[in-house]
């Protein structure tokens, strides 16, 4: 029995694929309800039979004669036991299914529900309330994911504005002053002034670039497909990486936060291509099939180093993906060269 339970436990763990789940222990330390109830019932029936025989035919019991009546009784006991197990299984089965589902429930895999949820039995009622609880949790999760993302975005916007309005403007003032000085500076100072001025220009460029990366683009206004096309265009234009985009024209309407995550992951992946890959081109693909939206960003560059720990950018992509229940894979392409980021978003029916 323990062995069976053990195997069950392990196979479930493998199916779920998350070794960190604490409740998913391989050992069941109790006898399942089904066997306990069946065992007790079997004992009761046996006792009843024994008593019956003792009361109705005490003489024959002592003689231990194996005649037809005993055979019939034994068969009856076996039948009763089997019927008992069958009926009990029907009652206990949903509870076991519920346990299995509870182990599997995961926000990366939303929309799982118990079958047979109707008010026809206690088990059905249990499944019904369990499903209602899942719905509540999922909607709460969506709300809080939305809140987290919106908070992140507004914070980014604030920083971008500060950068532009404060640092950018002050650097502009410095630059204007340096221009004037450079026009009037004696020839001996010209080179120095030019060096300083170029450094300030570089800083101004950096501030601008950081502000652009932080700023949320108006997804609401353009829609995901167009916003991604513009994004690809801008990357091509600014960073000299040739990005070919293939974006499915019939993308379904997505929740705001899903669009935001897809957009941000694309942005982060393209930024990584420009910064680290040394690739001169990249592909941006968005496809929609079988209830999933898939974003792929592929480059033809150096690929990831062997022990990539993942900087804040990669961590950010993973966190965002988790918030909307999406999965993300980041790895080198086989066959290479280059690296691929693949985001899969399950779409709710």
């Amino acid at each position: 029995m323990t062995v069976i339970a053990d195997q069950e436990g392990r196979s479930k763990e493998a199916a779920v694929g998350d070794p960190h789940r604490p409740s998913d222990g391989p050992h069941r330390r109790y006898l399942p309800l089904l066997y306990r109830a069946a065992g007790i019932n079997a004992l009761l029936v046996l006792a009843a039979v024994a008593v019956t025989i003792a009361v109705l035919a005490p003489g024959r019991v002592s003689s231990l004669a194996l005649d037809e009546e005993v055979l019939v009784l034994v068969l009856a006991v076996i039948l009763v036991a089997i019927a008992n197990v069958y009926l009990l299984r029907r009652v206990v089965g949903p509870v076991q299914a519920l346990t299995a589902l509870t182990r599997q429930v995961d926000f990366a895999n939303l929309g799982q529900r118990m079958p047979g949820a109707e008010q026809s039995s206690e088990a059905g009622e249990l499944a019904l309330t369990f499903n209602e609880m899942l719905s509540r949790l999922e909607s709460e999760r969506r709300d809080s994911a939305g809140r987290v993302l919106r908070a992140q975005e507004s914070e980014r916007l604030r920083i971008a504005q500060e950068l532009h309005d404060q640092v950018g403007q002050e650097l502009t003032v410095v630059l204007l002053g340096l221009e004037r000085i450079s026009w009037q500076a004696p020839p001996t100072l010209c080179d120095d002034v030019t060096t300083v001025r170029n450094a300030v220009r570089k800083s101004l460029d950096d501030v601008r670039r950081i502000a652009i990366e932080l700023r949320p683009e108006a997804l609401d206004d353009l829609g995901l497909a167009s916003a991604l096309a513009v994004l690809a265009e801008r990357f091509s234009e600014r960073l000299g990486v040739d990005i070919s985009d293939r974006i499915s024209p019939d993308l379904p309407a997505l929740p705001d936060e899903t669009e935001l995550v897809v957009y941000r992951v694309a942005q982060e992946a393209l930024t990584n291509v420009a910064r680290h890959s040394a690739s001169s081109r990249a592909d941006l693909t968005v496809e929609h099939a079988r209830g999933r939206l898939t974003l792929t960003v592929r480059d033809y560059g150096l690929g990831l180093p062997r022990h990539v720990t993942g900087g804040s950018g990669v961590r950010g992509m993973r966190e965002r993906a988790t918030l909307i229940g999406a999965t993300i894979e980041i790895g080198n392409r086989h066959p290479g060269p280059g690296c691929e980021v693949r985001l899969e978003v399950p779409l709710r029916a």
């Binding site: 504005q161 630059l175 997804l219 167009s226 096309a229 513009v230």
Partner: protein, 222 residues
């Protein structure tokens, strides 16, 4: 955009001092170009005013903080070139450009912005701005741009074809036609004639286009 004019700032300082003797030499009676500076940031405004005042062939008529004040001044005074920050707190530089171009003697408009890309360029086309200069290039490059637009040239960055496609989809058919003609450098008066529009009719369409193009996630808006 203006990089080619001065691939390296160092030599530019030596060779082309802003107090343009070359300009003086070319057109003997030096008529300074009358400039209007518009920037809502006081220090930037002051810095730009001083910088441009140092240039011999420029005269800064006024340096103002708001687009509305700039329209007032441009209605009263003769202005050759308006030098305008894209971001002005309230109304932006494109709004001002559109307004200035309706005047009887419209000045040339140079817009400078921290973010100059195809998206801003497209909106600038609808606003009929003449040049866009990056904020990092508010020196000799700006002076060059001012001189070029004052002599009737336009100096907008190109709108990449794919971006132009995305933008065009935001416009109705008539607006698309107008946008295409503006991109091709055709003057509004000609466009109005071609499409059989009154100048007021064209003007209202240009405003509508500007609004549609500006609601874009332009890198130039905060």
């Amino acid at each position: 955009m203006t990089i080619s004019a001065h691939p390296n700032g160092g030599s530019a300082i030596g060779v082309a001092p802003p107090v343009s003797q070359q300009g003086e030499a070319r057109c003997a009676p030096l008529v300074p170009k009358r400039l209007l500076v518009v920037d809502d940031h006081p220090a930037v405004r002051a810095g730009l005013r001083e910088l441009l005042a140092d240039v011999a062939d420029f005269e800064v008529v006024a340096a103002l903080a708001t687009a509305e004040a700039a329209v007032d001044v441009a209605e009263r005074e003769r202005i050759d070139v308006a030098v305008v920050d894209y971001q002005l707190g309230g109304r932006n530089g494109l709004w001002l450009s559109r307004k200035l171009k309706r005047l009887a003697r419209p000045p040339a408009v140079v817009i400078y912005s921290a973010y100059t890309d195809g998206v801003l360029a497209a909106a600038a086309v609808a606003a009929e701005a003449d040049a866009i200069v990056s904020k990092g290039k508010l020196g000799i490059e700006l002076c060059d741009a001012i001189r070029r637009v004052a002599s009737g040239h336009r100096d907008l960055p190109a709108v990449p074809p794919r971006l132009a496609d995305v933008l065009r989809r935001r416009l109705d058919h008539e607006q698309q036609a107008i946008f295409g003609m503006l991109l091709a450098g055709i003057r509004p008066a000609e466009i109005a004639t071609t499409l059989g529009l009154s100048s007021a009719g064209l003007e209202s369409r240009l405003w509508a286009m500007l609004r549609r193009l500006e609601t874009l996630p332009t890198a130039s808006s905060p």
